[in-house]
Amino acid sequence: MDLKVPEQERHFREEVRAFLNESLTPEILEAGRKTTSVFAPVKEVMAWQRLLHAKGWAAPHWPKEYGGTGWSVGQRAVFAEELVRAEAPPLIPMGLQMCGPCLIGFGTEEQKAHYLPRILSGEDIWCQGYSEPGAGSDLASLKTFAESDGDDYVINGTKIWTTYAHHANRMFLLVRTRRDGKPQAGITFLLLDMNTPGITVDPIVGLDEVPEQCQVFFDNVRVPKRNRVGEENDGWTVAKYLLTFERGGQDYAPALGVQLQRLKQIAARQTTAGGGSLREDPVWAHKVAACESEVLALSFTEKRIKSALSAGKDPGALSSMTKILGTELQQRVTELGIETLGSQALVWQPQALVPGGDEAPLGPEYALTAMASYLNARACSIYGGSNEVQRGIIAKAVLGL
């Protein structure tokens, strides 16, 4: 056991920095600074993905044969850190983090050959059609039905909370293909084109006044059977595999570390009634230290999981743990953000958060994003399997309760 950084990794950091310096355009950087969600502004983030793809860096975590980079765990961590430090907008995860790995695991050769390059290049934007009004935590109770009709399925029903459905041209979704038996056993995983007739997309406005999620309605929507991933009625296996990626595939610690550093810079600019800066205030410093030490712990928990993964082990329920820890720390950091700014955080200018918009921030730009980030971060303990559900998984799968 040691923590030595291989020489090659140090060079790698410089290489990444140099690339980011020369490729991130002012428009992309503005979008990065104004991103207050997991989901970045579409136009700019897709432009960024195209630049990364041209360099071959759009999907470092994919196997090399499908367009991955073949980097070590350490290199991937360095890359993730440098992306956050440079304030690049985070790539939209539905294609690269969810659908892609799923197709690599379960897709036919034809599906892989068709879809994977389009995911990498950003030609396709994907959304995830799992949840329904009646099926959230209890996903297996989903009702959207796909009737078999010759070479097609005919879909009727509705999906809700579908992030970016209004921007996506593709959806991967779970549908019911059998009415009897165990609920999990009658589910099928499909891929569809959002331009197919019969699909209606209604955006839903969130707490932060941004329409990020949608409700999607299906009225006799035809999907060819060759767009099925895995066997009919065996979609649950595919879905579960994907959920593990959604929860554990992501590293929270690098971004949290950078956000805490930024918060310290902001606190250094706030003058207290005692004449010092808020950064030197013992109560404030204590709270930040509590967060920072948790982030340090999390960074090592994440590294342990990554190295288990690269050694071919299944992190299993550990991905539930990083999901809980990462999202709750994320929420705490955004709380600290609004606490640090006090009343300045209350100033509400959603228009000033639109990249390229013409509304200027009333206060310093760093104050603009704090509240929207706080509001949006409330969602991360709800989506991807709520933190209550994750705790249940740990209790059952790890502790054997």
Binding site: S137, D138, L207, A273, A345, L346, V347, W348, A379
Partner: protein, 360 residues
Amino acid sequence: MNFSLSDEQQMLADSARRFVQGGYQPEALWRQFAELGWLALPFDEDDGGLGAGLVETMVLLEELGRGGVTTPYLATVVLGGGILRRADAACRARYLPDLMAGDLQLALAVDEQERVFAPENTALQACEEGGGFVLNGRKTVVLNGDQADRILVLARTGGEPGDQRGLSLFLLDPGSPGVTLTPHRLVDGHRAARLQLDGVRLSADALIFEKDAAFEPVRQVLDEAILALGAEAVGALSVLLDDTVEYSKTRKQFGVPIGSFQVLQHRMADMFMALEQTRSLLLAATLKTLEGHDDARQAVHALKARIGGAGRHIAQEAVQLHGGMGMTDELAVGRYFKRITAMDGLFGGADQHLAAFARG
């Protein structure tokens, strides 16, 4: 000791609840407040007011909080009116009748950019010149600042930021030369403005209290504002709890209401206790302040810290237990969540008030 409302206080509570539930018209709201006598509530009978005390304000604001009503009551009546109530007879006679009739909107400007909220942290300068004053500087997040007919501006006439002495309060006509107001929204839907003062000339009679001696009255008014906020918070938090409990009884997952899961039951039990503790501190702080107890200010600090802490706890749990629905702008939960969040950001946050509590 007696924690029950008098008949009059109960009538006020009932009429406020009826008003809030009765589908009022936002445009006509202020006029109706005047007709109901609510704008005259805290002012002395000698000044034409109703001579009611802090308990009445508490009763009214709890109902407004429950109804989620967005009003300039805090800015105009509690903050602005609180200041004028303490001003000299001439000033009271000149402004209070209009305020009580609903014809005068006010704002109190204390906050400054990149300065942690505290009246003594004021840096904005007022220099004496030719028998009057010249003001230069910027105030931020002036509640109701965009609608106010008069803005009360806290400025430094002596000492350094951090000193309680050397603070003076000026009554400003926002139409005066050198005043730039930039209106904006707050996250909870309230209105505010940034106030820029460039060489604004005021005559000596714009001074509300003695020169250099505004700190104590401003602090008293801010204490009253925290009490009002606490009452509104209790009203809003009780809705967040009630809505969550109700939702958990009707929302089904895994074939059962989510309220049947023990983890969620415990979480809602905690929300309930947090609300009751907030209500207790509201009563403690209100009654101690009303009766002038030595430790009244301690209780006010404790209350403000609790609005932040318990407010956040209850509001976050309400959103979490609503799942995806809680993240939308469609349910009341979202609106109340944002109002509670904003409350911690006003008049100093929880940590600051706990630190003040610790100092005693």
